[in-house]
Symmetry: C2
Subunit: 476 residues, 2 copies
């Protein structure tokens, strides 16, 4: 990673001089095991919200509130610009973290942040180091750098933060919260800080996230588990049926076979494909990582980066049926189950997946087997930034300054994962920007999650630049 001069970059000078503050804040916050999926940790999630509220007050935010929800609390903060007509930016992040299992796979205890010298610089290892406490924490220093560098008492744009506590549990109350607090959250642009960049030395901006639809398929055959000696070979076996059904989920070209699944998919235009091709990506190294795969697979006619970022998918996440304990039980089971998720891209809608899946199952389930398809309401819509908007221009300039790069050289990437970002667009009616300091190698959701500290410093600096750049951008 390059380190340009600080002379013409007072934001960078301030960040560099105050790294210890950022590190101390993050260290303290990461010690709170705010696992939202585990009810045992509910008080930790509450403590995490309290910690963040206190840190925001200490940073200088005049308005800091903890907003209860039907689940875990969110933190809201607001620092109004003294400038009349200054644009309003809303930072979105979350203060809850993923579970840590399997705990034995962690080299360092997940809630004892540990500094490790890595090949790309110092790393901090802890659950939540980047997802998402690191990405939220850099805004504390970023705001102070913005004020110091510009010599202002209030930010050049009004900055709001909404940091929820249930993102890792599917944000079940987030849309309700947005609707209930829409007035307080009104903004001209949303800055999502829950993503990352392509590589340590590659300034880049996420431009889209995939949506998500869950489904569960149950296949039923015999009334009870049958003795496979007395019945085997003569009655339908739900496990055979499930294998047959799921083997048809993709065609020979790797395309999902649900009827109508691709109807609303926006085709990738040449410019987007060219932009994605510019993203440095060592496919061999990527496959050799946690995927441990010798081969790329997936939809024909698309690159791996396109497959994971820009194309919809169907994945079986879990499957069970019959006897799965030690030894053998010679049964034809009564039932088989599979859990699936579909990743969606613009302009697919999660609510379309249920009817498509039901039609597909009905057409493909073998005779003698009853199928039940459960698709929970909700799901996550895909979302995307406008590549040519003035706000995107401000973001690219801010990132370019933090990386000493021409804004035109900041690359665009796509995030294969899904979050509640589409709700922000829908309820608040504001466009999305993505500014995050994560890396594909940060092991989010896995043991030994880490943040590369130089990336975190770049994030703080980019945030400081962004508030200044947005102030001179026509957003309305």
């Amino acid at each position: 990673m390059t380190s340009g001069p600080e002379r013409d970059n007072p934001e960078r000078a301030y960040v560099r001089a105050h790294l210890d503050d950022l590190h101390a804040d993050l260290d303290a916050w990461l010690r709170i095991p705010s696992i939202s999926a585990d009810p045992v940790h509910a008080s930790d999630v509450a403590a995490s919200a309290e910690w963040l509220a206190e840190a925001l007050r200490r940073t200088g935010f005049p308005v800091v509130e903890i907003w209860p929800t039907a689940g875990a609390p969110a933190v809201f903060a607001e620092w109004r610009s003294a400038d009349a007509d200054a644009p309003v930016a809303l930072v979105y992040g979350h203060h809850d973290v993923q579970p840590v299992d399997p705990p034995e796979r962690w080299v360092h205890p997940p809630f004892e942040p540990t500094r490790v010298e890595g090949p790309d610089g110092p790393e901090l290892h802890a659950r939540g180091a980047i997802d998402d406490k690191g990405n939220v924490a850099f805004h504390l220093l970023g705001m102070r750098a913005h004020l110091a560098a510009t010599g202002r008492d209030t930010p050049a744009v009004t900055v709001k933060l909404l940091v929820e506590g249930e993102e890792e549990s599917g944000s079940p109350h987030f849309a309700d919260l947005l609707r209930a607090r829409a007035d307080r959250l009104a903004c001209d642009v949303v800055v999502v800080s829950d993503t990352g960049m392509a590589a340590p030395d590659v300034p880049s901006a996420v431009t889209a996230m995939r949506g998500l639809a869950d489904a569960e398929i149950t296949l039923r055959g015999p009334a009870v588990d049958l003795h496979s000696g007395s019945f085997g070979g003569a009655v339908p076996n739900p496990l055979h049926a499930m294998a047959h059904l799921l083997s048809k989920l993709h065609d020979e070209h790797g395309r999902v076979t649900l009827p109508g699944f691709y109807d609303k998919v926006r085709p990738l235009c040449d410019r987007e494909r060219e932009l994605m091709r510019r993203v440095p990506f060592d496919e061999r190294a990527w496959l050799a990582g946690p995927a441990a795969s010798r081969v790329a697979s997936g939809e024909e006619g698309f690159t791996t980066l396109e497959r994971i970022g820009a194309r919809p998918t169907a994945e079986v996440n879990g499957m069970c049926g019959g006897y799965t304990g030690p030894g053998h039980k010679t049964i034809i089971p009564a039932e088989a189950h599979a859990k699936l998720t579909f990743r969606l891209v613009s302009d697919q809608r999660p609510e379309d997946v249920g009817p498509q899946l039901r039609a597909w199952v009905a057409a493909n389930v073998p005779p003698g087997i009853e199928a039940e398809v459960h698709t929970p309401p909700g799901g996550v819509a895909p979302c995307a930034s406008d590549l040519d908007s003035p706000a995107m221009g401000a973001l690219l300039r801010a990132i370019g300054q933090a990386f000493d790069t021409d804004p035109g050289d900041v690359l665009f990437t796509r995030e294969g994962g899904s979050g509640p970002e589409a709700d922000l667009v829908e309820v608040l009616g504001a466009p999305l920007l993505f500014l995050g300091a994560g890396l594909p190698t940060d092991r989010i959701h896995s043991p030994n999650e880490r943040v590369l500290l130089p990336m975190l410093h770049r994030g703080a600096e980019a945030a400081a630049h962004l508030w200044r750049e947005l102030a001179t951008t026509r957003l309305r």
Copy 2:
């Protein structure tokens, strides 16, 4: 069920006069929960052996021994015929029972034998009522009826019994026991009493049992469970691979696709098919039973009875992988597992299945997925009776007498299940006969197992006839 005159059938007269003894014995024995699969019940299995030993002594057997094994004990008894050169028959059965789960599905407590009036006569409901305590218990009364009817002090043939305690756990120590005690067990014919007949009013004899080979397939993809947002659509998913693999286990004609699987299968000759066709079988009613199926399925070109009795099969008994708890976890799992059993017919060998399965998996596993196939040593060989042997003639006459039927009208059936009977043939070198009082509707291995008492009475009578008939049969 017909009830012929007792005048010319002193065995029947004795059985009818002593039904209360049989009922009292069975009631007492069924109260002992001798579940061999559950270590908690080890003392019950031992108590069951003790009960049987005491009952055999009470019946008059001069030699009764409990034979310990590395697992549960077996019971051995012997009553030598006073006649020089009398043939030797060995009765095989077992005194352990299947587990009872799910217990809430039992109408009457499984170890409180309960008499129920059914459409075909009185039934006794309890775990083990027919499998196999009922089938063993009828020999106690059968032996006394034989002696009383023939006016003998010793049976007309030497009768040995070997009643093992681990059949429902796969008889893991049975072959060793046979080899260690081969001298004591020497015999001219084995009478297996662990099967049944086609229907209450249909005298029939089992002529074959299927063999069994177990296997477990593990498919491995990523090194760890992967985030399906970050990797979904671009790396091989072991659950997709398992679905693809298992969807190929049978071809479009319902035939198992393992290479060489059918090579040693003895073709069904016209006479056997004709004999099987004579067995009354209400396919619609059978399918509507526990199978709860509206359709028959399986290998093309064979009837349902042939499919479950005379043809080999492959069944997936269990499958698991990925996240199967409540809600959803958006992963591509590292592994997928499947448990399979293959039912075999003469002259297939269980030890051939492992190499066949390995070759099949290697040829069919998708790229990027590693497969591991585990086939435990052992397995169960298929076995069959000689339809034209003198011993079979004696059995048919005995069954015919018990059912007031011409021996030529006793039907032949095949048992789709598997037991250690092949070991008896191999170690003792004696041919097999099958005499059992079960019915396909007895719900063995399921909740509400029962025995139809008139069938049990027929069993006792047929056993008594059999000892007399075998005495005049050339077996050596």
